[in-house]
Symmetry: C2
Subunit: 262 residues, 2 copies
């Protein structure tokens, strides 16, 4: 298995940093190939701007989406750092985003990885947009056949992210990443590996978490992905991309109705 881990913590000697090191070691010993994009140590350029488009004519007005499309057809395409990340994604069978949960989302440096690497004609804008098919997205796209998984640490206690917790259910908070990035590009999305109250974790807790992670990695091919509904296969009105009336179970609303239950 080829594994890409995109890592977004400022401190390598953190809980997350140690977990990364042990994960790489474990996978390598098992014979898997691993690449790590350690965004902080790479000094990853976080902010999308005109310098992301080598063919952009400076001084003219920048339309980010149109320019991304235009650049994808140009000779220079995108910057070297961006294209290297795209190659890593194409290479990998499993893509893990590993990050501490900051303000209900990814750290800025990881959002900047998404904003810059997820270009037109790679992550979006693929396929036909017509009356029966609304682009290659949500179950189709460049990443079909690959798996994606989030590895998240949170400071809060688990109840606060439970179904009735005031911070919101963790699965809802991660939906825009799992569904909006991984599934959008066609990946199978594995349940997120979330660990709470990490500020107070000791060595025993670390070993527990590592043990749980190893079990996931050992069984990666048999873990059932989240059963998101594909966009272009009959469940949605096209081109509105709204779920057809009556398909959801009683009580399903919001994000939940986009997940097919057994």
């Amino acid at each position: 298995m080829k594994v890409l881990i995109v890592f977004a913590h400022p401190e390598k000697r953190s809980f997350n940093g140690s977990l990364l090191d042990e994960t790489v070691k474990y996978l390598t010993e098992k014979g898997d190939q691993v690449k790590v994009s350690d965004l902080y140590r790479m000094n990853w350029k976080t902010t999308l701007d005109e310098n992301d488009f080598p063919s952009f004519e400076k001084g003219t007005r920048l339309y980010p989406v149109l320019q991304s499309a235009k650049s994808s057809y140009s000779e220079e395409k995108f910057t070297k750092d961006v294209m290297e990340e795209q190659e890593k994604m194409k290479w990998a069978d499993l893509i893990i985003l590993q990050f501490p949960f900051w303000w209900f989302s990814v750290p800025a440096i990881l959002k900047g990885w998404v904003d810059r690497v997820f270009t037109y004609n790679f992550a979006y804008g693929l396929g036909e947009y017509d009356e029966t098919h609304f682009g290659e997205r949500y179950g189709e796209g460049a990443m079909v056949g690959k798996k994606g998984m989030l590895m998240v640490t949170a400071g809060g206690h688990p109840e606060i992210f439970s179904k009735r917790g005031i911070d919101g259910p963790i699965d809802d908070l991660l939906f825009p990443i799992n569904h909006g990035l991984f599934f959008y590009m066609g990946m199978d999305v594995l349940p997120s590996f979330v660990n709470y109250q990490i500020e107070s974790a000791d060595e025993k807790r670390f070993q527990e978490v590592l043990g749980n992670l190893k079990k996931i990695l050992d069984n990666i091919d048999t873990i059932k992905p989240i059963n998101y509904r594909k966009q272009n296969f009959g469940d949605y009105v096209i081109p509105a991309a709204t779920l057809k009336e009556g398909l959801e179970l009683p009580g399903e609303t919001g994000y939940d109705m986009h997940i097919l239950k057994d």
Copy 2:
């Protein structure tokens, strides 16, 4: 009225940039005071790291949350750019975050504004944490009495962000910002001002949007904020911070149960 607009678009000559200019002009002519944090033009440092903490002892292990707390009690506190943003927030009666919706969230530069400016003892870690009160958050905190509003442009069509839309309902997608940032710090949160399919907007559309925005600004004191439930006033089990059983209406799940209906 004192208004702070935090602006996160790379191009000033964009739809968003023009909307910003016209908003500043309109508010100023009405006699309001306006400050703009134009993050791209400020070359805002996007990534939180050890350099955000002047009292941090380089070479030691960085614990972001603990260091934020420690720095808040130190003489130097935080960096000048961060403390200036905090002063602007304290100064303002209305805080607007204006941004294009990129990958279901804010652009990285705006996430970096949050990650860096929302420090311990300013945005979080306030008040007592005991058996009856779980910090000053969600309805209490440093920003009580102020209003917050999101001004968002999205490329997609409105149906895709509707209740049955595959991208997810826009109110759910914005919940982690409205509830998790604004309301978390105690602000009254106004309904978000969202405009769709902005790539194809012409001058007529721009004037329409500007007209709608002026109406909001003219009536800012009578617009009903989103009726989020406050954390420490009886609706939640403390310290779990979970909504007490039976308080939600039938059919309310997820984020929705944290909003009190009339």
